[in-house]
Symmetry: C2
Subunit: 303 residues, 2 copies
């Protein structure tokens, strides 16, 4: 256990710094209609754990060492949070999950209307790629920045997160096998975790071997994260989660506890976390401590 | 006039080649859910003039000369068509323009449902950036490819096309000034034309001076294109347009003929086209003929 390395204080301090960067990520002088900018920032600033951007920063540091990559990794950290945020805005739409609340606040379309929510999502999705392109002016080699663009498009697009969301929606129409559930989780959740870790590692200058080991780490961590999410939806504390529990049950969503049971789901989170940490050790990083500690933190989280 | 350089035959042959490239742009081996892939291709293959991708190819050729940049420019040509297509899918949604038909075919959400249409749009938007990143493996320097990523994000995002669409929707709630109409057209239409021309020029190796002149050419061309669109919506031929005329009137959209009258709108298209061609001549390109000829073609088009 590395409980002393990643503390609640480290996580909240880093989340705060990411939020500062997000607030100014769309330049003030750009000709963005005021209402659209407001809608984009409303959801960007709606809080959340900021897990994905923290992973970008932690992975860069794990490869290169403390501090040196922080500034260059921040635009990519913002980018993945923009992608995550746009996906929540679109997922919450009436045509999708039809959610009225998210993190205790009315969802984007409830405040700005459906049309503006769709456009706010499109705006955030597009701007994520702008943010990645900006790393080149912060010392990241162009070919590395371009590899990150390519990864982001793949892992968040039709063969990644969007594909996972599509499979989820198609699955609501009767699909229930474990293979299909794995496809959904692998892409809907795990792909963005993989992007976060590998993009940070690329900025840190990871070797191909390190990237491969880190991808395996991220893949297992992402799956553990999602199974834990499924568990918390069943037995979590509403005030800590900031959303109603048992929403999966109400929406008749297929989850791990539903298919393999609660006992086995808890075991699975433990096993995946252990395996992820083993993969991470294979990467021979200079400072793996924070990533190892985040893995433990996520396994035990209650929100 | 350069009617002999750009013929209907050249345009349809190039459009055909672009359609071939679009068809295989999302690799078959990628794990995209079948229904999502179908929804993306349904709209990508729904036809249209393919004007934007043709401009990418023509601009690359104008700077570098015939043939040499064709292969490297094609992924960017596909990218801008993906962006254009995703914007049509999202614009057609019930929460936006609520259109049932597009180019004589049922709109995406009419065939695949709203949720899948939203995701097909998100998938195409994301994949456009993947396509741009692929140019680096076709001889385009990484820093040029990255500049194209940055331009695409800016010109198609919240400060570009998405911003124009947002202003359009907000404008339907009572905004009618010429300044606001210009903002809408400048961003909703002109920005993608600017991207098409400048990205092609970047691939052709344009100097900063050439890029500046080409941007002015594109800006005026794009505005002329949109005013012509407004005119055709009023007096065009439904069978040639492939959509009902007077839809702007029915949707109470503010258009150029509505604000400045038909006579002056026709004059404006002529003047903008003339000015765009003057800007183009300032660029001192090796083969400007096709671009000049496309400008004339667009001014006189009936669909």
């Amino acid at each position: 256990m590395n409980a002393s390395v990643v503390t609640a204080d480290y996580l909240s301090r880093t989340a705060y710094e990411i939020e500062q960067a997000l607030r100014t990520s769309v330049p003030q002088e750009w000709p963005v209609p005021a209402k659209l900018r407001e809608a984009m920032l409303y959801s960007l600033e709606a809080g959340g754990k900021r897990l994905r951007p923290i992973l970008v920063l932690a992975a860069a540091e794990a490869v290169r060492g403390e501090g040196s990559t922080y500034e260059a990794a921040m635009p990519v950290a913002c980018a993945i949070e923009m992608i995550h945020t746009y996906s929540l805005i679109h997922d919450d739409l009436p045509a999708m999950d039809n959610d009225d609340y998210r993190r205790g606040k009315p969802t984007n379309h409830k405040v700005f209307g459906e049309a503006m929510a769709i456009l706010a999502g499109d705006g955030l999705l597009s701007h994520a790629f702008y943010a990645v392109s900006q790393t080149a002016s912060l010392g990241v080699p162009s070919e590395v920045a371009l590899a990150i663009v390519s990864d982001l498009a793949k892992l968040s697009g039709a063969s990644g997160m969007v594909g996972g969301q599509a499979a989820d929606i198609l699955g609501e129409q009767g699909v229930t096998s474990l293979t299909e559930l794995e496809y959904i989780h692998l892409h809907k959740t795990s792909d963005l975790i993989v992007f976060s870790i590998t993009s940070g590692a690329r900025i840190g200058g990871a070797t191909p071997e390190q990237l491969a080991a880190l991808e395996e780490f991220a893949r297992k961590l992402g799956l553990a994260f999602q199974v834990r999410d499924d568990i918390l939806d069943l037995v979590g504390d509403e005030t800590k989660l900031g959303k109603p529990v048992q929403s999966d049950v109400q929406q008749q969503k297929v989850t791990y506890p539903f298919i393999i049971g609660m006992e086995q789901s808890l075991e699975l989170v433990k096993r995946l976390t252990k395996e992820s940490k083993e993969a991470l050790r294979q990467a021979n990083l200079s400072m793996p401590e924070k990533l190892l500690s985040i893995a433990d933190y996520l396994m035990n989280r209650d929100h």
